[in-house]
């Protein structure tokens, strides 16, 4: 049973939360897809519920009189660069379903998993800084591997806060250039930015040969207008205010939001970007499993090698 989002979000320590998610991924009641995606044999380990039967080494199991599963090491490590949206719109809603906290946990867990698989993982984001002319400063943790780097990376993710605006397109462009060789670019954001500019930046990164993942974080609370009568909504990023009434504007807004998400999805598909939606009401463990099962972190240059039984 995966840990619920309420439980995971309530854990203040990001490293602990990420570890719990990763542990859940490994021991999940469902089949675990993270036995390894490389071609090189790494070790045997006892069979756990959820492991695919094709990964069971039947000969060794017969010798030891117990089920053992083959774990494979990836032969070619990939560079994974996490691009995390730190704009104020991510700080919605207050509470356990907050998009930014969810994105932090997802990034941390993903980094953990990727580092375990031998990938080099880095981080790029932009934080507000009044001393800079553009108003934002890039925070970059170069992709590396190792336990020490994992702690540094998780600490860097934990220090981030959602505030101000976020130059999405510029940050994605910068990330695609920072990945020197072909790597995995995971952009975690709500994408409430200049849609066309972000889409072009993602497409450009995909054209450069990167495995681009567009993870759109969506909170259930933003799919529809807040319940109740007339109320004044304040834009978390621009500070603009609008007086709305769900009774008159609710359907139109819900439709517009669905259309917005659909535009993101279709645009990503067209540009060769792997799009996925991260619903903050779904347990992070389950969400990550679904995401990685569909497209494991192998990197574009790494051939997907089937596990050999």
């Amino acid at each position: 049973m995966p840990l619920s989002v309420e439980v995971v979000s309530a854990i203040h320590d990001l490293e602990l939360a990420a570890r719990l998610v990763v542990e859940g991924l490994r021991r999940g009641g469902e089949r675990s897809p993270f036995l390894g995606i490389g071609a090189e044999f790494r070790q045997h380990r006892p069979y756990q519920i959820g492991d695919e039967l094709k990964h069971v080494d039947w000969k060794v199991s017969a010798r030891h009189d117990r089920l053992l599963t083959r774990q494979l090491r990836e032969t070619t490590n990939a560079s994974v660069l996490l691009v995390l949206d730190t704009s104020a719109s991510m700080a919605f809603p207050d509470g356990v379903h907050q998009k930014f906290r969810y994105a932090q946990i997802a990034c941390a867990a993903l980094a953990w998993v990727a580092l375990d698989q031998g990938h080099a993982v880095g981080l790029l984001t932009a934080v507000p800084d009044a001393r800079v002319a553009s108003g934002t400063r890039l925070v970059y943790v170069a992709p590396r591997s190792g336990v020490l780097h994992r702690r540094a990376l998780l600490a860097a993710i934990a220090q981030l806060t959602a505030q101000g605006t976020w130059p999405a397109a510029r940050t994605v462009q910068r990330a695609s250039t920072l990945l020197r060789r072909r790597g995995v670019l995971v952009v975690v954001s709500d994408f409430y930015d200049d849609e066309e500019a972000v889409r072009r930046a993602l497409a450009e990164a995909a054209r450069r040969g990167h495995d681009v993942r567009q993870w759109q974080v969506v909170a259930p609370e933003e799919r529809e207008l807040p319940p109740g009568g007339p109320q004044e909504l304040e834009d978390l990023e621009t500070g603009g205010r609008r007086l709305v009434d769900r009774r008159t504007l609710g359907d139109a807004y819900a439709m517009a939001h669905r259309a917005f998400v659909e535009r993101c999805r279709i645009g990503a598909q067209r540009d060769g970007v792997v799009w996925a939606s991260l619903d903050t009401s779904v347990a992070p463990e389950r969400a990550l499993r679904d995401l990685l099962r569909g497209a494991p972190l192998a990197g574009p240059a790494t051939p997907r090698i089937a596990a050999r039984a």
């Binding site: 719109s89 991510m90 919605f92 207050d94 998009k99 709500d190 409430y192 909170a219 933003e222 807040p226 109740g228 007339p230 109320q231 004044e232 909504l233 304040e234 834009d235 978390l236 990023e237 621009t238 603009g240 205010r241 609008r242 007086l243 709305v244 009434d245 008159t248 504007l249 359907d251 139109a252 807004y253 439709m255 517009a256 939001h257 259309a259 917005f260």
Partner: protein, 405 residues
């Protein structure tokens, strides 16, 4: 600027009303953070009323509305010249109590008419209470009281002299002000020039008889006047306590009716020293209340004891005068504004103002001007209209949704 009804300025406390209303109304809609309003901008559905951005404009309009109404109710007056910069330590208020001050006026339609005298007395009380050392003189002849007031002020080391009157003809002359010694500043305040509140004169003139005499004498007088002027209603008024000096009302009447040169009037005015043979009854008449009636005031000669009116000849004179006045007024239909122009000594006031301008630090003339109050009322109504328009205009607002979004 001074105020005729300064108590109305307490109404400024009403300014808190719009502020509270806005504060409360703002609380009715709660504010909530939302990740982005971009998708709302693309909507095409009529939402609820929107007042947030226009709140300030509405608040300003409502505050302005209350402010204008309160200022109008306070009856502001222009001061034609500046007052001395230092507040005088001593002040003499000379209050005109002549007959013309009994006219009843109202500052606006919503108020009951008040007599000029009541208004002036309230103002005099306010002036007296605001000075450290004050003296109030009630007189029917303010000009005559000026020397005594000036002497008192000189003894007090200088100060301010305020004359409250209705701007009537020949009550105050510029030379009266100019002759005052240097350390005394003079302020002339004209109260109650409210032309629209003077009641309309009817076609038939009501003649009231006030005096001392036997009923049969008045009956005779009435019959005689009505015989001369059938349109005249002859009403016997009860003797009034505290009647103004008949000479004042006589002067008033002769001024505005143009009868000052009438031989009968002149002869009557000389009634203060009646000729022999006509002195048993002083045939003094006057207009007591200039609004709607003429009081035929028959008074005993000052030197005589009260006696029944028995001399038909003097009654005949009084009747002739009354009939002449009635005929004049009744046939001329003096319009209200014309009447007011005649009652108020505009030229005299202008002369006083010129004096105030030439001696700017010594004197000023404050004219109670209902036009200013009326202007303020009009502006308040205008603000009310604009407020209603803005409120209605901002209520419905349409935003658009991108159809295929």
């Amino acid at each position: 600027m001074t105020f005729g009804a300064p108590l109305a300025l307490w109404g400024l406390a009403l300014l808190l009303g719009p502020v509270f209303v806005h504060l409360l109304s703002r609380r009715t809609t709660r504010r909530q953070a939302f990740p982005s309003l971009r998708l709302l901008d693309a909507s095409r559905v009529p939402p609820v009323s929107r007042r947030t951005l226009d709140d300030r404009a509405l608040l300003l309009l409502r505050v302005l509305l209350v402010l204008l109404a309160v200022l109008a109710a306070a009856q502001p007056r222009w001061s034609m010249a500046t007052m001395p910069s230092t507040q005088p330590s001593a002040r003499v208020v000379i209050l005109d109590t002549s007959a013309s001050m009994t006219r009843r006026v109202a500052a606006d339609a919503a108020r009951e008419p008040r007599s000029l005298l009541a208004v002036a007395r309230a103002r005099a009380d306010s002036l007296v209470n605001s000075a450290r050392l004050a003296l109030r003189i009630d007189t029917h002849d303010p000009a005559a009281a000026l020397p005594a007031a000036a002497g008192w002020l000189s003894d007090a080391g200088g100060g301010e002299l305020v004359v409250l009157y209705d701007g009537q003809y020949a009550v105050l002359h510029p030379s009266d002000v100019q002759m005052l010694p240097e350390p005394i500043s003079v302020r002339v305040e004209v109260v109650g020039v409210a032309t629209d509140r003077v009641a309309a004169r009817e076609d038939t003139l009501r003649v009231a008889v006030h005096g001392v005499g036997a009923d049969e004498d008045f009956a005779w007088l009435r019959a005689r006047v009505e015989a001369l002027e059938p349109d005249v209603q002859f009403v016997r008024a009860d003797p009034l306590l505290g009647d103004p000096d008949p000479l004042d009302t006589l002067r008033h009447l002769t001024t505005y009716t143009g009868l000052a040169d009438d031989p009968l009037v002149q002869e009557t005015r000389r009634g203060a020293a009646p000729r022999s043979g006509r002195a048993d009854v002083g045939a003094w008449w006057a207009v007591r209340d200039a609004r709607d009636s003429i009081v035929l005031l028959l008074r005993e000669g000052e030197a005589l004891e009260v006696q029944p009116v028995t001399a038909p000849r003097d009654l005949e004179t009084a009747a002739l005068i009354a009939a002449a006045v009635a005929r004049f007024c009744g046939h001329r239909h003096i319009p209200r504004h014309e009447y007011e122009q005649r009652v108020v000594d505009s030229a005299g006031l202008a002369a006083l103002q010129r004096v105030a301008e030439t001696v700017p630090m010594r004197a000023s003339v404050a004219v109670s001007d209902t036009r200013l109050a009326r202007l303020l009322w009009c502006l308040a109504l205008l603000a009310l209209g604009v407020e209603a328009y803005v409120r209605r205009r901002v209520a419905p607002r349409t935003v658009t949704v991108e159809a295929g979004a």
